[in-house]
């Protein structure tokens, strides 16, 4: 066959081959664009729903720290709510009817009295003075200010009636209403009042759990990976172990919750709802992932490294720990971080061990009752108050930030330390 003829055949097929490649590239690109579009849609809908939760409404009220109310045996249990009510009555002297008064008191958050209590306990010199104080507004006022409550609807169809709105308008006209950064969202525990609900409790719970998960899963997972990959003899038994580890990695997480309930709560009688148990359950869940990624990382280290180490007289253990492990470590860390990120986003197994609970106090140790970030999102999404909708989205944003940070670290570690052979 002459060269010319061969070239002719190649030339003839060339157009088709180029076309196929172009089509394939286009399909790949559109797949990427498609998933990006969904991602943008998801993120923007969460952001649009939630960004308003990062600031909230406060109203300023002149409070007279009445000695008659406050000079009691135990200032911590004085009637601070009474002070607020008194001040509101003074600000709106025209309100006389019982029902209307009740609505009036409802303009200020029920948590405001605890704020006053803390102020007085911190500075007893306040007693007897009159101060203008910014107090948290009720969630309904907050919703009105963020225009979630439509003023144009008939009165019966909205959470606030005309009279209440007129009070708010009067306060706005006097410059007594402001919108400020919602610090409480980051420093408070959970609350049934949306305006004082925060994610600190859930974040601490997640942190304690992840600390336990990491402390257990990392050394045990890496140890298992090293043993299975470098030391274990290849026989029927190790095959069975390998199949089981791969299986465990695919078991639905709720199963680990059931296991945790049976073993840690019922048998070991560990406390319910504690991050200790949550951490143990998540440890069991993440362990297979870490073992598998650890083994893959070890496999990717070329055998020449081991052989060279053994060749100059290193023992098997020295070869593994001095030469192979340092090279495999970036891959193992990446796997661990991805496993931890999965543990952070997990809520199903926590349901079984009582961590889906209303907990106000911020946990201070691994045996205190606690929830976790995803559980907090679930609980808020299930709450009737409208103001929890934006808080749910805000909490999702916080969780996503943590996840992006963790996965970003994994990518960074990989690109920074990974060696290619």
């Amino acid at each position: 066959m002459s060269t010319e003829k061969t070239m002719h055949i190649v030339q003839r097929g060339l157009g088709k081959r180029y076309r196929q490649e172009k089509i394939f590239k286009l399909m790949g690109l559109s797949a990427i664009l498609f998933s990006l579009a969904f991602l943008v849609f998801l993120f923007s809908s969460i952001f649009l729903n939630g960004y308003k939760a990062f600031y909230q409404t406060a109203v300023s009220i002149d409070i007279f720290f009445d000695p008659a109310v406050l000079e009691v045996k135990d200032p911590a249990s004085a009637n601070y709510n009474g002070l607020i009510k008194e001040s509101l009555r003074n600000a709106f002297p025209e309100v006389k009817k019982r029902k209307q008064k009740k609505n009036l008191y409802g303009l200020v958050s029920t948590s405001a009295s605890f704020h006053l209590r803390d102020m007085v306990l911190a500075d007893p010199g306040l007693v007897g003075q009159t101060k203008t104080i910014w107090l948290l507004a009720d969630d309904d006022v907050d919703m009105l200010m963020k225009s979630y409550i439509d003023r144009d609807l008939p009165q019966a169809d909205r959470r606030m009636n005309d009279l209440e709105i007129s009070w708010v308008d009067k306060l706005i006209a006097e410059g007594r209403v402001t919108s400020r950064f919602n610090i409480g969202f980051f420093t408070n525990g959970d609350s049934r009042e949306p305006e004082s609900a925060g994610i600190m409790g859930a974040a601490m719970g997640s942190m304690y759990m992840l600390a336990i998960t990491l402390a257990l899963a990392f050394p045990i997972g890496i140890g298992a990976a090293i043993y299975l990959e470098e030391f274990a003899v290849k026989n029927r038994l190790t095959d069975i172990i390998e199949v089981n580890i791969n299986n465990l990695a695919a078991v639905p997480s709720i199963v680990f919750g059931l296991l945790g309930l049976a073993v840690f709560l019922n048998f070991f009688e560990l406390p319910r709802s504690a991050p200790l148990v949550g951490g143990l359950v998540l440890f069991l869940m993440t362990l297979p992932t870490i073992i598998i990624t650890g083994r893959v990382a070890l496999q990717s280290v070329p055998p020449s490294i081991r052989e060279a180490a053994l060749g100059i007289g290193a023992s098997k253990m020295q070869a593994v720990f001095h030469h192979v492990l340092p090279l495999a470590m970036p891959g193992m860390l990446t796997g661990t971080i991805i496993g931890m990120a999965r543990a952070l986003g997990e809520s199903a197994p926590l349901l079984m061990i009582g961590m889906v609970a209303f907990i106000v106090d911020i946990p201070t140790g691994i045996t205190d009752p606690a929830t976790a970030l995803p559980v907090q999102i679930y609980l808020w999404a299930d709450s009737p108050e409208r103001a929890f909708v934006e808080r749910t989205s805000a909490a999702i944003m916080v969780l996503l930030t943590f996840l992006i940070l963790m996965n970003g670290t994994a990518v960074y570690l990989r690109s920074k330390f990974e060696r290619r052979w």
Binding site: A215, F218, V360, D361
Partner: protein
């Protein structure tokens, strides 16, 4: 270097795990542990928070496990590893009470806290439905009496107009909770049974025993394998079965989700608790049931037919041991919490009449245990 740090981590882990498992049994609990109904959850949590913030006690922990799940945990034993209080959106069952007794929980204090209405609601964009319980039964039951023969047939109705000529000619489409939910139980018991009782044969079946049941079952065309000596059981089987042909859509336990779906689909009706109607008055409207709208007053005075009492149960043996229980009980039964103008009413709970409140708060004060009649 790595070898050393790995050893240190391994030792630390061993110590941590060892100490955690070793000391666990000795951990005393210094907070109240509450489990139970998701319907009572919003109210119990509000009280818990008030109590925790206004006293030096720690805030009670409230878990939402459902009424049945809560009572199961509650009745599993005495001691710090078991909950102190269980919320329930129905009364404790005899079987649960017996389990409690068998596990050494002899004295249980029953506290009724208030009422909750179950509403059938639709989007504000459509007209208000005027339903009778009979219409609800006919629209949603799996089997209904045939209008001519009186025998039970598979539910043939597709539109509300077919159920009742005075209703609009729209497709029947109802979003509601799944069978695991307490709301579903209460809905079946109050609305569906109420509707079933409007049929003479079904009412007779409810009261019948033994052979009478067989005759009535034959008349209604109920297959024999459903036979039970007590007619009431057979009646419940008929009245509580909700159709499974896509007309009734199980929308999960999340009531917020149902509200959102109603907004998107103006023809659909949704079943959920009154507090969600209260919070979403701008989006959804409650339907009339037997001539009554689900309003605060209507549920409170009992004229609105689909409402149920809410309870919680306390272990007497725990009251003196776990710090904070008596304080929590006092807070819950105070007028500022469960009273007519209390903060629980603001959260959507319907308060009890004065006499009932007095009775239960006295029971709580004296820690009067429940005696099964």
């Amino acid at each position: 270097m790595i070898q050393k740090s790995v050893t240190i981590i391994a030792v630390a882990v061993a110590l941590l795990a060892g100490s955690a498992l070793g000391t666990s049994k000795a951990i005393a609990r210094d907070y109240v542990s509450i489990v139970g109904s998701s319907t009572v959850y919003p109210f119990a949590t509000t009280v818990a928070e008030q109590f925790g913030k206004s006293t030096k006690f720690r805030t009670p922990k409230v878990e939402s496990t459902g009424s049945g799940g809560g009572l199961k945990l509650f009745c599993s034993g005495i001691g710090v590893s078991h909950p102190d209080i269980s919320n329930a959106s129905r009364r404790i069952k005899k079987s649960e009470y017996d389990t409690c007794q068998a596990n050494g929980i002899e004295d249980i204090i029953e506290v009724k806290v208030g009422y909750d209405g179950i509403v059938l609601a639709n989007s504000k964009k459509s007209i208000t439905m005027k339903l009778a319980r009979k219409d609800i039964f006919l629209a949603l039951a799996k089997q209904v009496p045939d209008s001519k023969t009186g025998k039970l047939i598979n539910n043939p109705y597709r539109t509300w107009k077919e159920v009742n000529p005075s209703l609009p000619d729209t497709r029947i489409e109802v979003l509601g909770p799944p069978p695991t939910s307490g709301t579903r139980d209460a809905f079946a018991e109050l609305a569906m049974e109420g509707g079933a009782k409007t049929f003479a044969d079904l009412t007779a079946l409810r009261k019948a025993r033994g052979d009478e049941v067989k005759i009535l079952m034959d008349k209604l065309g109920i297959p024999e394998n459903a036979y039970n000596e007590k007619g009431k059981t057979v009646f419940k089987l008929v009245a509580h079965s909700i159709r499974e042909d896509g007309v009734y859509i199980e929308a999960g336990e999340n009531d917020n989700l149902i509200v959102q779906k109603l907004e998107a689909n103006p023809d659909a009706l949704g079943i959920f608790g009154f507090s969600f109607l209260d919070q979403n008055e701008d989006k959804v409207q409650g339907s009339f049931i037997d001539g009554h709208l689900p309003t605060f007053e209507g549920i409170s005075d009992g004229s609105y037919p689909v409402s149920r009492p809410l309870y919680f149960y306390v272990k007497k043996a725990h009251v003196s041991v776990i710090p904070g229980i008596s304080g929590y009980l006092e807070e819950f039964t105070s007028d500022k919490a469960w009273g007519d103008e209390g903060y629980l009413a603001d959260k959507g709970m319907i308060p009890m009449p004065d006499e009932e409140r007095t009775k239960f708060s006295t029971d709580v004060k004296n820690l009067t245990p429940l005696v099964w009649q």
